[in-house]
Symmetry: C2
Subunit: 354 residues, 2 copies
């Protein structure tokens, strides 16, 4: 996929950006799909008070909405499940804020079946609103309300590492900062505070991987470590793990490390981890913890790799690296890793079982 | 598109249903897209208290998320914007609960660019959670909480007309009732109670139609009359209106009727309108009101048509007719109407302007 420099330069206003998206898309070769669709994984029934009184009624909660595309040229590639982070939806992986192609379509164009999941309690997966109604009805105190987590523009700028302070971008920053207002529209309320433990999204991701007869689970930020948590619930479908920019759990007990050590794992971090002043995230800390996690998985006999982008000569990436200007370069790095660490091994297993 | 009878009969459990979806999709010809992507329409900034105190910060609210696909074989057809109803998301138009093709893909396969919009305050469009946080913080009383509208299984059965009483289906019902649990997973909290007046979805739909240089707006149930409301805000992009099963506004003032009379309008109602016992909807009443609305538009010189399906010999349709077993037959009826009342006129206008 190539965008002309002229098209990039044209992207100066939001309207122009949107138009650019359509022009850019129109310049692509047609996208040929064997199939597409959507479905739910998981979900359970819950009794709630009926409207207007009377007997209790049933609602369904904790389900996970999944939207998929399978390319017509899909050969032996393992499906990839992408799960978004805090205060975001699967929009994360689609058309970038400045109108370029997202990872979802790019992976499909490269022959991978792609499954986008809205976390349980977010976006098209819905959430359990019964506590809010109970507080309104006076049967629960206001302290029982969930904290509705909505990242402000200021929080996003700092946590997503667009620049050292709000309104100032890093000179070498890869995020398409002229379109940041379009990113702000992606930021929606996060009601994970309502979820039980373990998080149903973990269970649903594991179930999805199994249903697909094997999948690579990819998480980002809030969901960055969800692939590992899913594998610890049921590793049978998890053929690979891609964890992007999150705090890692360290010092797992041996039995858990042994489970994770059987799954090829890629961890990716961008640039400027320690260059933001203030804010609630400490990305350098997260990176260092994940370095230890990678070492621990490998010490247990695993195949884990840390891609710390600036160390590889790839500079300026923000936390939203799937939307950064070099997003397709990063996608290529990930797919090369998949080919070598997941798909080649699958081929090798196939050959050896002949 | 054809599904074999064998595949249909195979759909006996939810797992089997999902597998059937994939088998059925795999039997389709490849879907060839000129482009696809997603973007937002509208949105405005709002000041909210910063987390942990301090200066106020900004969030974006009232934006509308839109996901689109443009077919490679898209000729002169006008784009179609589909907007879902209460307690639902754009999932409404996608793969049906029993795993058949939804209207979104079928329209694309028939050469129409399709735009799916999540209503402002729903699903991937997000909502304004600041009132909930203010009640939790004690700065607003619980009475200020929005009513979180979640349709229970019992409400859905009755309002969507699956049968006369909960658990009993109409013998000739078109809804794939064996998969009703999958529909329940689509039902998510509706926070339209938080929205200002006029509803930003109306404004955003009008803006989207204009941005597309002309579109047909389709609404269903809660959003059934949104196309008309959008046209009354700005008719310039609204080339056609499709209103499915909703209460109609009647007795508009002449200036408003004159606006609506310039736009070809199709209204569609299914079967069993008066056959559900109890429940909160009165569909026969809604139908009769819409009959009057159609007459009033036509009396003002308009081109409005009521498709009351049982009168046309199409029996057993539920309120969720885009998911009913004969959903593609209904889609064909709608596209025939579009070709004749919207696209043919566009061609005629084009010819006459040559």
């Amino acid at each position: 996929m190539k965008f002309s420099a002229a098209v990039r330069l044209f992207a100066v206003s939001i309207t122009a950006i949107t138009m650019t998206a359509w022009i850019a898309h129109a310049q692509e070769k047609p996208l040929v799909l064997a199939s597409q669709g959507s479905f739910f994984v998981g979900g359970e029934m819950k009794k709630v008070p009926a409207r207007g009184g009377g007997a209790q009624e049933d609602i369904t909660i904790n389900q996970m909405y999944v939207q998929f595309q399978v390319p017509a040229n899909g050969g032996p590639h393992t499906p990839v499940v992408m799960v978004h982070g805090c205060c975001l939806s699967s929009k994360t992986w689609e058309t970038t804020p400045d109108g370029r192609m997202g990872w979802n379509e790019y992976f499909v164009r490269k022959g991978r079946p792609v499954y986008l999941a809205d976390q349980s309690s977010r976006a098209r997966s819905g959430f359990d609103g019964s506590k809010i109604n109970a507080v309104k009805a006076g049967t629960l105190p206001p302290s029982e309300l969930p904290n509705v987590l909505t990242a402000s523009h200021q929080t996003a700028w700092s946590v997503f590492r667009f620049g050292p302070t709000f309104g100032t971008a890093f000179p070498d920053g890869q995020f398409p900062i002229q379109a940041v207002d379009e990113l702000y529209k992606q930021m929606i309320p996060d009601l994970n505070a309502l979820l039980p433990n373990p998080n149903p999204t973990w269970t649903n991701m594991a179930a999805l991987a199994k249903k697909l007869n094997g999948a690579i689970l990819m998480g980002h930020s809030e969901s960055g470590f969800f692939p590992e948590q899913a594998a610890l619930i049921d590793p049978s479908g998890v053929k690979g793990i891609i964890s992007i920019e999150m705090p890692c759990v360290m010092d797992f007990a041996k039995d858990k490390l042994d489970v994770l050590a059987k799954i090829p794992t890629l961890v990716m971090f961008g640039d400027h981890l320690g260059d933001v002043k203030g804010g609630i995230a400490n990305w350098m800390n997260s990176y260092e913890g994940c370095e230890k996690f990678v070492q621990q998985v490998n010490a247990a006999g695993g195949d884990a790799e840390m891609m710390y982008l600036p160390k590889l000569g790839v500079k300026g990436n923000s936390h939203m690296l799937m939307q950064d200007k070099n997003n397709l370069q990063l996608a290529d790095m990930i797919m090369s890793w998949i080919d070598k660490h997941v798909d080649a091994k699958k081929g090798a297993r196939r050959q050896s079982s002949n």
